[in-house]
């Protein structure tokens, strides 16, 4: 019996066959391409940004998996929220996320995105990231090691290939009122203009 990563992969493989039979060949191909070209927005929002250089350079070289960094939100598919978010950063993160084009995914890096982390009693960090943005994958650790970040990416690839209907950007579109209400509650009058009209031409 394998542990950890390999066990997860084995359990997926058996599932994969049953899911694949419901997808058409074209859908499978599109999902495969999506999963193997993930462009990451170079926005280091917190501590976690320090483990991103090792992940992207020669030691761990995540480009093996088709993950590349890009400079602008318009080109990016993945936003890594690397750790704690102050409300001031969160405003910018939301703006960056809304500028990205579908399909787009969020990885929450570190404990702080899950339940506040070690800044749980700080007046200037948010505690639950998924109140404000749809997070597709959480990576645990403080700092998460580069291996953990890679594992997050691999699991995200599996998710894209097998459960493309559960992606965060679809959740964001369907439950926009919920996310918007939370954003308005935190930012008050300073909240960014509503994004809702951009959903119109999509469905």
């Amino acid at each position: 019996m394998e542990e950890g990563f390999n066990a997860y992969r084995q359990s997926l493989e058996s599932e994969e066959q049953s899911i694949k039979s419901t997808q058409s060949v074209v859908e499978q191909a599109i999902a495969w391409f999506r999963a193997h070209s993930m462009f990451v927005l170079a926005y280091g929002t917190g501590c976690g940004a320090i483990e991103m250089p090792p992940t992207f350079t020669s030691r761990y070289d995540i480009e093996r998996l088709g993950v590349v960094g890009v400079a602008t939100p318009r080109q990016a598919d993945i936003l890594i929220v690397s750790g704690y978010c102050s409300p001031k950063t969160l405003k910018r993160v939301i703006r960056s996320y809304e500028q990205m084009s579908d399909p787009k995914y969020i990885i929450g890096l570190g404990s702080c995105t899950i339940n506040g982390g070690m800044y749980w009693d700080s007046y200037n960090t948010i505690k639950k990231l998924d109140d404000f943005l749809p997070v597709d994958m959480y990576v645990n650790g403080c700092m998460p090691r580069p291996e953990a970040l890679i594992e997050g990416f691999v699991k995200l690839q599996e998710k894209i290939r097998l459960n493309s209907s559960e992606a965060g950007y679809i959740k964001y579109r369907d439950n926009y009122a919920h996310y918007r209400a939370n954003q308005e509650r935190l930012f008050g009058a300073q909240v960014a203009p509503s994004y809702e009209e951009n959903f119109a031409g999509m469905n």
């Binding site: 350079t57 400079a71 102050s86 800044y119």
Partner: protein, 368 residues
């Protein structure tokens, strides 16, 4: 022809910025006419959180203050607590602390090299130097149990004994790095494309440098020999032999050359530490009433030399278990505001990332 002035934000989401901060630039053509720094994207209220925690609880949080180089924070915290409480640290623990600090300095310089070379478009240097930094982090992992946040230098000593064969591993790594530094010279410091971009850019005037409180490579890059390790020795730096490299140019290239020489000095210090490391002795002086440890109603200021300059803590106790006030003085506060705002005026837009990297501005320590 009338020239139009436009205002742009350089950051926070920008690959050419050193962390999560932004500079508001007014541009006429390509030339910057006014710069204003904005911080606060990473404000976590450390100083407030520390007021709510006991001494040993606060110990785990201080290393998060500066992300690229957490160890000077731990050293400062330990120094301040020891000074207020009057705790003596054993010789072996002191040597281990010096070793940790110098390893952290090397790692930080290698990370800086990746940023600096990236800002002039030399991608290969970053691929190499971050690999080499990872080798140092591997040693940290074996020694402290953490890759980036070590939480190792504890008030009263250090937390763990040296693992078996650690000094040999460190010695082998130093041999390797010494060879690599020659290759870095060829690839980066002597590279014509870097020299063309860096020489004469971001010149700091040496006559105002001392008065305005600049520290670290900015001072040493304009020929002023100031280093906390020499001027105000802590731990046992007074007993170790090393030089303080200086350059006279004051520009980005001079600061790069200072850092290049400093890496060699760090290796020199580490070799002495390996040779002199005591084999016997305790590594930890237990704090009295460990979990309910109290600080007297006193205050102090301590400073260590980080990879980017003087890093100081002001600490005041009030006779209770909590620390009344701890204020951080990082090198980036003055560099990021007073210096950067004046240095950018008259420069071209493409040099912003170059200058910011060369000053080593690290936003988490500006706003804590």
């Amino acid at each position: 022809m009338e020239r139009k002035t436009i205002t742009i934000f350089h950051g926070p989401q920008h690959p050419g910025i050193t962390g999560n901060m932004s500079v508001e630039l007014e541009l006429t053509g390509e030339t910057i006419t006014k710069a204003r720094t904005h911080v606060g994207y990473l404000h976590r209220g450390f100083e407030k959180l520390i007021e709510r925690r006991t001494v040993i609880q606060a110990f785990t949080i201080v290393c998060r203050i500066c992300v690229p180089e957490p160890d000077p924070n731990e050293a400062n915290f330990a120094l301040a607590v020891e000074q207020l409480a009057g705790i003596e640290v054993s010789e072996k623990a002191t040597y281990i602390r010096v070793m940790v600090l110098e390893m952290a300095r090397l790692a930080a310089q290698l990370l800086w090299m990746a940023g600096q070379s990236g800002s002039v478009g030399l991608g290969t240097v970053g691929q190499w130097s971050i690999y080499d930094r990872d080798l140092i982090l591997d040693l940290f992992e074996a020694l402290t149990g953490g890759r980036v946040y070590h939480m190792y230098i504890y008030p009263g000593g250090v937390r763990r004994e040296l693992p078996e064969g650690f000094l040999e591993r460190l010695g082998a790594l130093l041999d390797y790095l010494q060879k690599r530094l020659v290759e870095y010279d060829r690839l980066f410091f002597d590279n014509a494309s870097f020299q063309k971009r860096a020489i004469g850019v971001g010149v700091v005037k040496s006559e105002e440098a001392l008065h305005l409180g600049y520290v670290g490579q900015v001072l040493r890059g304009c020929g002023l020999k100031r280093d906390v390790r020499r001027d105000n020795p802590y731990f046992n730096y007074a007993a170790l032999e090393f030089d303080i490299p200086t350059q006279s140019g004051g520009d980005v290239f001079a600061r790069a050359l200072v850092r290049r020489a400093e890496m060699r000095e760090s290796i020199k210090i580490l070799r002495q530490v390996i040779a002199q490391m005591p084999t016997e002795g305790a590594i930890m002086q237990k704090l009295p009433k460990h979990r309910k440890f109290t600080l007297p109603k006193e205050d102090t200021y301590v400073a260590v030399e980080s990879a980017r300059g003087e890093f100081g803590y002001y600490m005041a106790g009030d006779g209770s278990e909590m620390i009344r006030r701890m204020q951080v003085k990082g090198p980036s506060l003055i560099h990021g505001f007073t210096l950067l705002e004046s240095l950018l005026v008259g420069e071209e837009l493409s040099n912003v990332a170059l200058i910011m990297n060369s000053l080593g501005i690290c936003p988490p320590e500006i706003e804590r």
